[in-house]
C-alpha cells in the first residue's frame, strides 16, 4: 500500500505541505498568529517557552523548534522572534536549513515593532507559500510514514476497543516498514513490565523502565497521590480507577511489534519500527514532541472526546465510545465502537482503521484540520521559569 506524500530534499516525506510560521518565544506569539492568519498555506506554531528558563530547558526549546522546522510536513519555515530571548534564532534557522529547506526569520525588535514585523512576515510567508505550492504529492511506500500514537480524554472504552484497534493498525504500519512512535511515559506506570518484555533487547527494556522511574519520581516529588492528576478527574468519571489501569489500556495502542529504541522528548528516531519517546501525556506537550520527532501523522484514540489537533500534522481522532461519536461529530474521525456492539471484529476494525490512516496520510482532512482546532500547543520543559 502507498500514500500520497511530499518528498523533501533530506529524504523525509510529508503528508502535508505547509509553510510553518514558528514562534521562537512566548513574546512573539502575537505576531506569529497574525502572520499565519493572513497568509493561506501557512500553519502557526506557538508556545509558552523560549526565555527565562534553565539552560537545559533553553536548549530543549531550541532543539524542539529545530525538530518542528525539519518536520517533513513543512515545505519552508518562517521563524518569528522577539530579539532578546534566550533561544538563539540564528542557530535554530541554521539547523533547520541543514535539511535543505528555505528558512526566513523576522525579529520584532529589529523590524520596528509588531506592525512592521507582521507586514515583513506576511511578504516572506507569501514567497514561501508560492514556492511550496509548486510541489506535488507523489505515491510513497508506507516505509516513508512516521506515525505518532496518542490517547487522551480516556475512559474504559479505549483499553477495550480503540487502543487494541489502533495497536493492530500500528503493527500494520510497522510491518510495511514504517515507524510508530509511542510517547506518554506517565501512562506506562504500572504497565512498564509489559513494554519491557516487548523491547528488542535488554538495554532498550532498561531504558523504558528508567524513563518510567524518572517520570514517577517527578510526580511523587510534590508529595501527593497523583490520582486526580493521573488518572484525571474526567478519566475517573469515565470509569478509570488508577494510573495502572489507565496505563494497561493505553499501551494496547502500541500493538505487538518489538520496541526498537528509546528516544528523548522531540528527538527524531533513527530506527524504524516501533519506538518509544519520553513525554508526558498532556496534549500540548506530547503532540509537539511527536511533531518535533518527525511524525507526519498522529493517531489519537479518545473515549470522552479530546478535540486537539496540531497545526501542521493531521491528528486522527478514533473513538470506541458511541455517545462521544454521536455527540462530538465535529471532532471525531473514526468510530470503532462496532467492536463493542458485535458488528465488527477487533482485527477487522484495526484493519479498517489502518486504511483510514493511509487515507488521512494521503490528504484526507481530519476534523481538527477542518475546524482549525490546532493552536493550543506547548513544549515540555523540566525546570522552573526563572
Amino acid at each position: 500500500m502507498e500514500f500520497l506524500g511530499f518528498r523533501r530534499s533530506d529524504g523525509g516525506v510529508g503528508t502535508r505541505n505547509y509553510v510553518g510560521v514558528l514562534s521562537t518565544v512566548v513574546c512573539a506569539n502575537e505576531v506569529t498568529d497574525r502572520i499565519a492568519r493572513s497568509v493561506r498555506g501557512t500553519a502557526a506554531f506557538m508556545h509558552q517557552q523560549g526565555c527565562c528558563q534553565t539552560p537545559l530547558d533553553v536548549t530543549r526549546v531550541g532543539e524542539v523548534l529545530v525538530g518542528l522546522g525539519k518536520n517533513p510536513n513543512l515545505a519552508g519555515v518562517l521563524l518569528v522572534s522577539l530579539g532578546c530571548e534566550s533561544v538563539v534564532v540564528e542557530d535554530v534557522a541554521a539547523a533547520i536549513r541543514s535539511s535543505g529547506k528555505r528558512v526566513e526569520s523576522v525579529t520584532i525588535q529589529e523590524a520596528g515593532g509588531a506592525a512592521n514585523s507582521v507586514a515583513r512576515g506576511q511578504l516572506l510567508a507569501q514567497e514561501l507559500v508560492a514556492e511550496a505550492s509548486a510541489m506535488a504529492p507523489v505515491p510513497c511506500p508506507l516505509s516513508d510514514l512516521t506515525l505518532g500514537l496518542k490517547c487522551g480524554s480516556s475512559d474504559t472504552t479505549q483499553g477495550l476497543f480503540a487502543n487494541p484497534a489502533l495497536g493492530i493498525a500500528s503493527d500494520l504500519v510497522v510491518e510495511a516498514g514504517g515507524t510508530s512512535v509511542l510517547g506518554e511515559v506517565t501512562e506506562f506506570i504500572g504497565a512498564e513490565h509489559i513494554l519491557a518484555r516487548h523491547a528488542r533487547e535488554e538495554s532498550v527494556a532498561a531504558r523504558i523502565v528508567e524513563l518510567v522511574r524518572r517520570m514517577e519520581e517527578r510526580a511523587m516529588a510534590v508529595g501527593c497521590d497523583m490520582r486526580g492528576g493521573q488518572p484525571t478527574g474526567g478519566n475517573i468519571k469515565g470509569g478509570l480507577t488508577t494510573i495502572e489501569e489507565k496505563s494497561l489500556g493505553a499501551i494496547a495502542k502500541a500493538g505487538r511489534a518489538p520496541i526498537q529504541a528509546v528516544y528523548e522528548y522531540g528527538q527524531r528516531p533513527t530506527a524504524t519500527g516501533l519506538v518509544v519517546m519520553d513525554s508526558p501525556g498532556r496534549e500540548p506537550e506530547i503532540l509537539t514532541g511527536l511533531a518535533a520527532a518527525g511524525c507526519t501523522l498522529i493517531a489519537f484514540s479518545t473515549g470522552r472526546g479530546a478535540p486537539q489537533g496540531f497545526p501542521f500534522v493531521p491528528v486522527v481522532k478514533i473513538t470506541g465510545n458511541k455517545a462521544t461519536w454521536e455527540t462530538l461529530r465535529d471532532h471525531m474521525d473514526v468510530y470503532v465502537g462496532t467492536i463493542m456492539d458485535g458488528t465488527e471484529s477487533l482485527p477487522a476494525a484495526g484493519t479498517r482503521l489502518f486504511g483510514d490512516l493511509v487515507a488521512f496520510a494521503s490528504g484526507k482532512l481530519t476534523k481538527a484540520e477542518i475546524s482549525g482546532y490546532t493552536n493550543s500547543m506547548d513544549i515540555y520543559v523540566v525546570g522552573p521559569v526563572i
Binding site: 477495550l160 504500572g190 488508577t242 495502572e244
Partner: protein, 98 residues
C-alpha cells in the same frame, strides 16, 4: 453481553452499558459467559467485582494488577476510587515514610 472481563483471572469486569442494582449481568470472558448479580447501579464503563474482594487484596484487570482494595468489595459491587487505591505515583506515602 452486559459486561466484559479481559482474562479469566480478573477480579473485576467492565460494564458495557449502565447496569441497575438487582439485575443479573451477563459477563463475557473470552468464549464463556458468567452471570453476576449486580448489587448497585454501575455506570457504563465502570467496574464491579466478579468475586468477593477483601480489604488489602490486589485487584486484577487485563490479568494485571490495577491497584489494591481499601475496603471489602462484595461480588457485584461497584469497584472504583472509593474502594481501590493505586500502588504507583504515591507521593503522599513517600513523604510520610509509609
Amino acid at each position: 453481553m452486559d459486561a466484559i472481563m479481559l482474562t479469566g483471572s480478573d477480579t473485576v469486569a467492565t460494564a458495557l452499558r449502565d447496569l441497575a442494582g438487582g439485575e443479573v449481568a451477563a459477563v463475557g470472558v473470552l468464549d464463556e459467559t458468567r452471570r453476576v448479580a449486580i448489587r448497585e447501579p454501575i455506570p457504563f464503563g465502570h467496574k464491579f467485582a466478579v468475586i468477593p474482594v477483601r480489604t488489602g487484596d490486589l485487584v486484577l484487570k487485563y490479568g494485571e494488577v490495577i491497584g489494591r482494595a481499601t475496603r471489602d468489595i462484595p461480588l457485584g459491587a461497584h469497584a472504583h476510587v472509593h474502594n481501590i487505591e493505586s500502588l504507583r505515583g504515591r507521593g503522599d506515602l513517600a513523604t510520610t515514610g509509609a
